[in-house]
Amino acid sequence: MLAKSSSFSALHEENAELRARLDEANEMLGAIRGGEVDALVVQSADGPKVYALQGQDAENNRFRGEMLAQVSDAVIAADSEERVIYLNLAAERLYGFDASEALGRPLSEIYQSRWPQLEDRAVAKTILDKCGEWRGECIHILRDGREMNVEAGAAVLRDTTGLSAGTLSVVRDVTGRKRHEDEVLVSEVRYRRLFEAARDGILILDPATGKIIDANPVVTQMLGCPDTRLVGKTLFEVGLLTDDGVGHDMVAELKRANQIRFENLPFESPSGRHHDVEFVANLYSENDRPVIQCNIRDITERRRSEEHVKLLMAEVNHRAKNMLAVVQAVAYQTAKFGDPATLADRLSGRIGALAAGQDLLVKSQWQGVEVADLITAQLAHFKDLMGARVLADGPPALLTAEAAQGIGMALHELATNAAKYGALSNSEGRVRIVWQIIDDPKPTFSISWLEEGGPRAEASGRRGFGQIVMGRMAEAAVQGVARITYGAGGLAWTLTAPLDDALATAKVGP
């Protein structure tokens, strides 16, 4: 080769290269002799063959390596400087490194650890140093930034002298399981909140025994004892069922039909108060385990309200029929008496008077009508004269619906008559409407219409419908007596009735 070199420089380089190769060969021999190698490679006809120099140890290492390679969990070993010295196939997959790339690297380049609590890292290290092994959970942050929940076990690797030579970790990705656990936890919190905040009482029973497994606060309140005392008891034992046999039948029926409903179950609370409850039981499956959920709703108030509505409906129906009958009678009588030319006006006025009384009753929810309000409504056409020529005076008095209707119609007729022929037909006349409650000798209510300063009033020869309204109809409404007198200054009308028949307040008491 020296003979082929064309220059001194080339010869020098070639010489240096040969010296280097020779040094390499010497080093290799020295290393083999000095025990610095673990294996020799021999070229054969079938390709290179590797011969381990550590005999049984090498074979054991190979065997262990093969075993670890088969493990589905990630296995990663690091030396005392926390550099990766081994990782199996599962670890390569988990961390996205192949062994060639990862070996020798600091462990922190393969993943970073994040701990639930700041002090957990130090605690884990202390346990590992002290006990030689540690198990727990933490988060590994991969090189692409992804976070992975892991369940890990770490053990200290020791050399032949027993000194720590590194760490062997077995890591399992539990991200999916963790997510599922979190979802279950969130779901549990959510449904526990619904369970506890529900307005219905909820009981969970074991169908096998019929005994309570869980109870929400509404039930504990309803039954007057804490859930700790309810759990383990049957519906009969806690007083929800009066017969234990019914409980057994209920469970049997639930197994057949999956649902049972008692619309109106009587129940007596510990305080002795009667309740009506709606009881609905369903058979569900929880993770293949059957449970009975009972929803218990206190419907006492609802039933009371329903009864009230029913009563009101009947009352409205009754009153509507009455009103139609009154309208019919008014229409007939109005047509029978008086000038046909004024029929429409008279009929309209009278129906208006009925409607005014009706409005007041609706406003008070049929509880009654104050006399003063009735006067104001019936004399709405004369509101300019109120307080001047029409004076109303009397104590607070709530008329019954019937009395309000009868007296209202009478006031309308009196006002119409006064405007046409009486004290309100001129410019000086006045009307005083006074009412009072007299206790002695019997509780009595009386109301008077007294005209002054009007033209002389005289009884007409025939009895018109107005007089029937002021007389017979008013009397019938209050079971009272109506008196009409005709004087120099106008007409005087007085209706006297037993207090109970005229006033609603007298019926309900003080």
């Binding site: 490679v41 390709g47 290492n61 010295i85 060639s100």
Partner: protein, 123 residues
């Protein structure tokens, strides 16, 4: 530098050498046999050398010939652990657990022969 009409000054030569070193990418391949003691140490030691002296400009491939002996073909591997410097040329081999840092640095061309106590390897 060879064939220049005017020989460069010493300072120019040093600067040029430093620039060349700084830009040269090293391609290394380490042949090991599983997790045997020398192999483990060799991996750790060469990785530390690379991180310290070749940061950001090296490719190190670790080849386990205990699992795949055929990977040792073509490289004239005789023993393991063996490190081969494939680039920059010339190709160099190192045997053992790579614990003789000075010798490795010298062989990789990262330290001048005069500064080293060991005269082996390429300058």
């Amino acid at each position: 530098m060879k064939g220049d009409a005017t020989p460069p000054t010493l300072a120019q030569s040093l600067r040029a050498a430093a620039a060349t070193h700084a830009a040269t990418r090293y391609v290394l391949r380490l042949y090991v046999t599983g997790s045997t003691p020398h192999s483990i140490r060799a991996i750790s030691n060469i990785r530390k050398i690379c991180e310290k002296y070749l940061e950001g400009r090296y490719d190190l491939e670790v080849v386990d010939i205990s699992q795949h002996p055929s990977l040792a073909a073509g490289e004239q591997i005789i023993a393991a652990p063996t490190l081969i410097k494939k680039l920059p040329l010339p190709l160099r081999r190192f045997i053992g657990d790579m614990s003789q840092t000075d010798r490795i640095l010298l062989g990789l061309g990262l330290r001048e022969a005069a500064a080293s106590t060991s005269p082996t390897g390429e300058a």
